[in-house]
Every structure is written in C-alpha cells, then in structure tokens.
C-alpha cells in the first residue's frame, strides 16, 4: 500500500492522515519512510495525540521536525538532514533546502541537563552557574537542537522553575525539549511539568545517535 499523494520523482511524501485514529497516522508514516526513504515528508493530522506521536516518530527516524497547527489540523513536516537511511542509500534533494551548504551551516547540538548544579565544590555556586547556563543557552542559536532534562535536572521544567520562561522561549524557537518521564515520576512531579515532551531512554539514546554533538552537564 502506498501513501496518498506520494511524490514519485522528487522523493517527497505527503500523507493525509485526517480521520485516522492512533496508531494509524504513525503506522502510515512508518510505512512510507520504510518503503520510500524520503528526504522530506509531510503528514496532516486532526488530533493532538497523532501530531505528537508522528512528530516523535519522525524525530526518532532522524528527521528535523516542524509542526504548523491551526488548532484543529496540524501539518507535521520532516526534513532528513542528510537524506540518508542506513542501508537504503541517498534519497536525493529535499524541497525547502537550497543546497547542502545550508545544512552545513547548522550543527545539531544536544544538551543534557542531569542535575541542578554545574560542577562540585559549592552547591549554591553550582546552582547559580546552572541557571546562568540555561539563561545563556539561547546564544547557541539554531545550532541548539535538543535540550534534555534527566535526573534532578527535570525540576527545571516544572512549575515554579526559575528558568521555566527561558526554556519555554527556547521551545517556541524550535528547540526540542525532552523531559525524562521516569525522573518526573521518581520525584512525583509528573503533573507539574510545564514545558517539553515527556520522554524515555529510547528517545534520548536515539537523539544522541542523531546529534552532531552532545554536551553533558
């Protein structure tokens, strides 16, 4: 079965998954990626769960993902940076990117925040440094790809966090914010999360594999 709207010559895929209940949109996306190996894919869905799951699946699959929504319908677009799927060869050029030189201008930097402080020796100083780091992180610009919070770092993503607005700004600018679900549950603050996508170790490991650079703090 081929997805509707498949572009046969430019290796782009467009799927209308409106009206499909979960896991339909993800399965359609998965099948299309596995059979066509596109460099660009666009999926239209009409519910939040589908939008989130498709976005997550595309991210797992090495796509850079953007979502455009009008509140009812969401269009999830994925560009695979190198247009390559292991074992399946190059997929050729993608629409919306002028050349590989454009891609080369931006790295995909993943930053892991695994504690409330930077360094050891003085906890108060360490916490000040971490807050300063998170506030300054935006200076990475478009190179900042994913910001991942694990262990006590997840407390930066909850209600009352002194840098919550900074992290929300980064998310609005397109940075993927991942927050460890196991960690939120451990600290019993799952319902207090105010930014980012609740994630698991598979997401984190996959993101590490895709990232050009991983910074651990």
């Amino acid at each position: 079965m081929c997805p509707e709207g498949l572009g046969e010559f430019d290796m782009t895929i467009s799927i209308d998954a409106r009206g499909l209940a979960c896991p339909g949109p993800v399965l359609r996306t998965k099948e299309a990626i596995e059979t066509q190996s596109p460099g660009y894919i666009s999926i239209t869905v009409d519910n939040d769960a589908a939008a989130e799951n498709v976005s997550r699946f595309l991210t797992h699959s090495g796509f850079e993902v953007s979502v455009d929504t009008d509140g009812k319908t969401s269009v999830i677009e994925g560009n695979r940076p190198d247009g390559y799927v292991p074992g399946q060869g190059s997929t050729g050029p993608r629409p919306g990117t002028d050349s590989d030189m454009d891609l080369a201008e931006h790295q995909k930097i993943m930053v892991m925040i695994a504690s409330q402080a930077i360094g050891t020796g003085d906890d108060i100083l360490g916490e000040k440094l971490m807050l300063s780091f998170l506030t300054t992180l935006k200076e990475m610009g478009d190179d900042l790809w994913q910001l991942v919070f694990v262990n006590s770092g997840v407390k930066f993503a909850i209600e009352g966090s002194p840098v919550l607005d900074k992290i929300q700004e980064l998310e609005e600018q397109g940075v993927h914010i991942l927050v460890c679900g196991t960690c939120l549950t451990h600290f019993d603050i799952l319902d207090q999360k105010k930014v980012g996508e609740t994630t698991n170790m598979l997401d984190i490991v996959t993101a590490m594999q895709v990232a050009h650079k991983v910074i651990n703090l």
């Binding site: 209940a21 979960c22 896991p23 993800v26 399965l27 998965k30 769960a49 589908a50 799951n53 997550r56 699946f57 797992h60 698991n200 598979l202 997401d203």
Partner: protein, 68 residues
C-alpha cells in the same frame, strides 16, 4: 516461542501484527485512556506498569491475536 515479549513497544507490536490493535483498544477501558495515543513508544512492561494492567494477560491476548 513467543512472538511478543514485554520489552517490545506498543508501536513495534501494532506495526507488525495489525490485529493486535483491537487488543489494545479493548485494554483502553481498563487503562482509562487510549494506549496507542499515549503509550505508543513505551514497552509493554512500562505500559502495563503505567496503567496497572496484568502484563501476563496482556501478553497472552496479544500473542493470540498475533498468532491468529
């Protein structure tokens, strides 16, 4: 030998055995929400733990659907 194991994700299972979608839909009532919407990328073990489901029963039902 079992086709389905507890470390497989919900997505792994529904993608490979379409009939298992009906099993998850059935368990939605026990879970209180749509499992395929909210736990698609979780392992069966984690899903069962999250919703306090009987993992052995779920594995058995999925296995039967996958084998049919």
């Amino acid at each position: 030998m079992a086709l389905i194991t507890s470390d497989m994700t919900v997505l792994d299972i529904v993608a490979k055995w379409e009939d298992t979608q009906g099993i998850f839909k059935r368990y939605d009532t026990l879970a209180g929400e749509c499992i395929c919407c909210n736990s698609l990328f979780d392992s069966l073990e984690k899903t069962a733990e999250k919703y306090s489901l009987d993992l052995d029963a779920l594995l058995n039902d999925l296995e039967m659907a996958a084998s049919s």
